[in-house]
C-alpha cells in the first residue's frame, strides 16, 4: 500500500528516536561478546556520549512544541509500536544521557575501587542495559512497551545494586527487597495496562487516551488507573511506597547510586505524568481527585517525614537517600497542582534535583574512596584534606536546600509561585518549611566536613583523583549554572507542561 511508504522514516535524522535506544542496547551485549575488560568502559562511555548527542538533537527539535512520532519498523500506530518524542520526554532523555555520560568517568575509578575486577565487564553490561531501559521507558508511546523497558531497567538495576555486596553484604538483601517490591509494582502496572486494553482494545497511549475520552470513565478504566498509579508509584518511591529506596541507595556502589538517584526515579515520575496527563487526561475527574486527595497529601507528608528522618542519620549516603524521598515529594506536589506553573515546577525540579543529587552522590563516592566510609564520624575534618571534593559537596548541599543562585532554588521558586497562584497558602508555607529541614540535614554535613577536628581516616585522606573530581565539578558547576540560566530548564519544562496539560493531541499524523 502506497500510504505506508510515507510512514517509513527516510533520513538518518528521522531515525534518531530509535537510535537513542539502539546505541546503548547494542553496546550492552557487545561488551560481553568482546569480553575485554579494558574495552568495556570505553564502549559504555562512547555509547552513552552518542546517546547524549542524540538526546540533545531531539530536544532541540521538539523544544518549539513539535511532536516526533516514529513508527518502529514502519508499522503505523495504533497497531505498530510508536516512539513518541515531545519536549517533555526529550528533556528527560537528555537528563538521563547527560547524567550517564558524566557519571561514567567517575564510575571508572569508583567501580575499580569498589567492585572486584572479574565483575567489571558485566557491570558495564548491566549499566548499559539499565541505561537503555530508562531511555526506552521515556521514549516509547506504547503502553506495553513501557512495561518491557521498565523491567529491563529494573532487572539490571537489581544487579547493579547487588554489586555493592563487595563492600557491604547488606546490598544483597537490599537488592532482593527491591526486586520483590519492584516486581510487584511492575506487575500492578501490567495489570493496569491489561485493564486498559480490555476497555479500549489498544495499547498505543495516544489511542488509549482518545478512546477513554470517547467512552468516559467506567469501572474498568478507574481500576486501571489505580493499578497503574500504585505500580509506577512503587518505582517513583511515592511516600508510603518508598521502603526499598533507602537501603538500595545506601548499599549500592557509589557510581550506581549517583546514576540511579538522578535518573531512575525521575524517569518513573515522567511515566506517571505521561499516564496521568496524556493517557487519562486532566479532565478525567478520577485522576484529579486522586492527585488532589491522595498524591498531594502524601507528597507533603514525604517532604516532612523523610526530611525529618534524614536529619537523624549518621550515614551521609543514607541521609541523601531519605532526602531523595523528600525531594520526590516536591516534584509530585508540583504535578499535583495540575496547573501550568505547577507542572513546570515539577518537571524543572525533576531536572534540577537530578543534577543536584548526582553531584552529591558523586561527592559521597569520592569521600568513600578516600576515607573508606560514608559515616559522618569518619568524615570529620575532610574539608581540609579533601578541599575540592568538600567544596563540591557544599555546592550540591546548597542546591538541595534551594539557596538562591543554585538550580534547586529555581524550581522551588516556581513551586512556591504555583502554590500561591492557586491560593494554597498553607502549602506554600509548608514548602518553605520543609526546605528548612533540608538546611538542618545539609548543615550537619557541612559542620562535619569543616568544623570538626580531623580524626581518623579523613585526617590522612588525600584529595580524590581528577577522574572523579572533574565529573563531580561538572555537576556542581551545573548546579550553579542552572541557577542562573533557566532557558533550558524552565523553557523546556514550560513547553513540556503545556504539552502535557493539553493532553496528547490525538494520534500524530
Amino acid at each position: 500500500m502506497a500510504s505506508e511508504v510515507t510512514h517509513t522514516a527516510a533520513t538518518f535524522a528521522d531515525h534518531l528516536p530509535v537510535l537513542q535506544i539502539l546505541v546503548p542496547f547494542i553496546a550492552a551485549p557487545l561488551t560481553v561478546l568482546i569480553g575485554s575488560r579494558a574495552l568495556a568502559w570505553p564502549i559504555a562511555f562512547v555509547s552513552s556520549a552518542i546517546a547524549a548527542v542524540i538526546a540533545f538533537a531531539l530536544l532541540m527539535k521538539t523544544m518549539g512544541g513539535e511532536v516526533i512520532s516514529y513508527h518502529l519498523g514502519g508499522w503505523a500506530p495504533p497497531l505498530g509500536i510508536e516512539y513518541r518524542v515531545d519536549a517533555a520526554n526529550a528533556f528527560v532523555l537528555l537528563l538521563v544521557c547527560a547524567i550517564s555520560t558524566i557519571v561514567l568517568p567517575f564510575a571508572r575509578t569508583s567501580v575499580a575501587a569498589e567492585i572486584p575486577k572479574r565483575q567489571h565487564t558485566l557491570f558495564y553490561t548491566a549499566y548499559l542495559l539499565c541505561f537503555a531501559g530508562l531511555l526506552g521507558v521515556a521514549v516509547t508511546g506504547d503502553a506495553f512497551n513501557v512495561f518491557v523497558f521498565l523491567e529491563i531497567s529494573s532487572l539490571s538495576t537489581y544487579v547493579l545494586i547487588a554489586q555493592g555486596s563487595y563492600r557491604d553484604k547488606r546490598a544483597l538483601t537490599a537488592a532482593f527487597d527491591y526486586l520483590m517490591m519492584g516486581t510487584i509494582g511492575a506487575t500492578f502496572f501490567v495489570i493496569g495496562i491489561g485493564l486498559l486494553y480490555m476497555a479500549t482494545g489498544t495499547l498505543n497511549m495516544a489511542d488509549i487516551a482518545d478512546r477513554i475520552a470517547e467512552q468516559g470513565s467506567n469501572r474498568t478504566v478507574r481500576s486501571a488507573f489505580a493499578f497503574i498509579v500504585v505500580g509506577i508509584g512503587l518505582k517513583v518511591a511515592i511516600y508510603p511506597l518508598h521502603l526499598w529506596l533507602p537501603n538500595s541507595y545506601t548499599f549500592a556502589p557509589s557510581a550506581v547510586t549517583a546514576f540511579l538517584a538522578a535518573t531512575a526515579t525521575k524517569v518513573a515520575i515522567y511515566v506517571l505524568m505521561r499516564f496521568v496527563f496524556s493517557v487519562f487526561r486532566p479532565d478525567f475527574s478520577f485522576a484529579n481527585n486522586t492527585l488532589e486527595f491522595i498524591i498531594i497529601p502524601f507528597a507533603i507528608l514525604a517532604m516532612f517525614a523523610a526530611s525529618f528522618i534524614a536529619i537523624f542519620q549518621s550515614d551521609f549516603k543514607r541521609m541523601l537517600a531519605y532526602s531523595s524521598i523528600a525531594q520526590i515529594g516536591y516534584i509530585l506536589l508540583g504535578i499535583g497542582f495540575l496547573t501550568q506553573t505547577g507542572l513546570t515546577a515539577g518537571i524543572s525540579h525533576l531536572f534540577n534535583h537530578g543534577i543536584t543529587k548526582a553531584a552529591l552522590f558523586m561527592g559521597v563516592g569520592a569521600l568513600v574512596l578516600r576515607t573508606g566510609s560514608s559515616f559522618y564520624s569518619r568524615l570529620e575534618g575532610a574539608g581540609r584534606t579533601m578541599p575540592w571534593t568538600s567544596a563540591a559537596v557544599v555546592i550540591g548541599g546548597l542546591s538541595l536546600i534551594g539557596v538562591p543562585g543554585t538550580a534547586g532554588f529555581i524550581s522551588k521558586w516556581v513551586l512556591v509561585q504555583a502554590a500561591l497562584e492557586k491560593g494554597w497558602w498553607p502549602v506554600a508555607l509548608l514548602i518553605v518549611a520543609s526546605s528548612l529541614l533540608a538546611v538542618i540535614y545539609v548543615w550537619r554535613v557541612i559542620e562535619t566536613l569543616y568544623l570538626k577536628p580531623a580524626t581518623g581516616d579523613a585526617a590522612t585522606a588525600t584529595e580524590a583523583p581528577a577522574s572523579m573530581l572533574i565529573p563531580l565539578w561538572i555537576m556542581a558547576a551545573a548546579c550553579i549554572y542552572f541557577g542562573f540560566d533557566t532557558q533550558i530548564t524552565i523553557g523546556a519544562s514550560q513547553t513540556a507542561a503545556q504539552g502535557l496539560l493539553a493532553g496528547a493531541v490525538g494520534m500524530a499524523h
Binding site: 506495553f144 512495561f147 518491557v148 523491567e151 532487572l155 537489581y158 544487579v159 547487588a162 555486596s165 553484604k169 547488606r170 544483597l172 538483601t173 537488592a175 532482593f176 526486586l179 520483590m180 516486581t183 510487584i184 511492575a186 506487575t187 501490567v190 495489570i191 491489561g194 486494553y197 480490555m198 495499547l203 533507602p246 537501603n247 528522618i309 537523624f312 542519620q313 549518621s314 550515614d315 543514607r318 531519605y322 566510609s373 559515616f375 559522618y376 564520624s377 569518619r378
Partner: protein
C-alpha cells in the same frame, strides 16, 4: 451496587475470580513467608495470575484459534480469538523468568554471605550490624529505618 451480582454475572466472570484468588494467594505468600525461596514462589504465583488475566482476556466466545488458512481465504463467518494479549504475555513470561532467575541468584549469594535464607535470621544479623555501626558512628538514631 450489588444488584448486578447475579448468578450469571458471577459464573460469567469465572476467570476474574480465579485471577483474584491467585493474585491474593501469591501476595499473601510474599508477605507471610519468611523463607526467601517461598517468597519467590509467591511472587511467581502472583505473576501467573496476571498471565491468566491476559490470556483469558483474549478469548472471544465462540472464537477459534487465530490461524489463517494457508490459502489466506478467510471465511468472514469465522470468529477468531484475539492473539495480541497472548503475544504480550509471552513477553511478560520471559520477564518473569528473568526475574525469577535473578532472584534465585541473589538468594544463593545471600546464603553464602548470611548462611541463612530465612528473613528473620537475616534481619537479626543486619540489626546486629546496625547496632554495632550505631555504637561506632551514630550520635543520633540511624541504621535500618
Amino acid at each position: 451496587m450489588f444488584e448486578e451480582f447475579t448468578w450469571e454475572f458471577i459464573v460469567g466472570h469465572l476467570n476474574y475470580w480465579l485471577f483474584i484468588v491467585l493474585m491474593m494467594t501469591g501476595l499473601y505468600i510474599v508477605v507471610a513467608r519468611s523463607n526467601l525461596v517461598k517468597k519467590l514462589v509467591g511472587l511467581n504465583i502472583f505473576q501467573v495470575s496476571v498471565f491468566m488475566l491476559y490470556i483469558s482476556m483474549g478469548k472471544i466466545t465462540g472464537g477459534t484459534a487465530p490461524i489463517f488458512p494457508t490459502d489466506m481465504k478467510v471465511d468472514p463467518g469465522v470468529t477468531y480469538s484475539n492473539p495480541l494479549p497472548h503475544v504480550l504475555i509471552l513477553t511478560a513470561i520471559v520477564v518473569g523468568i528473568a526475574t525469577t532467575s535473578l532472584a534465585l541468584a541473589l538468594i544463593v549469594r545471600i546464603r553464602e554471605e548470611y548462611n541463612t535464607i530465612d528473613e528473620a535470621g537475616i534481619l537479626e544479623i543486619e540489626s546486629t550490624i546496625c547496632r554495632a555501626e550505631n555504637q561506632l558512628h551514630g550520635e543520633a538514631m540511624g541504621g535500618r529505618a
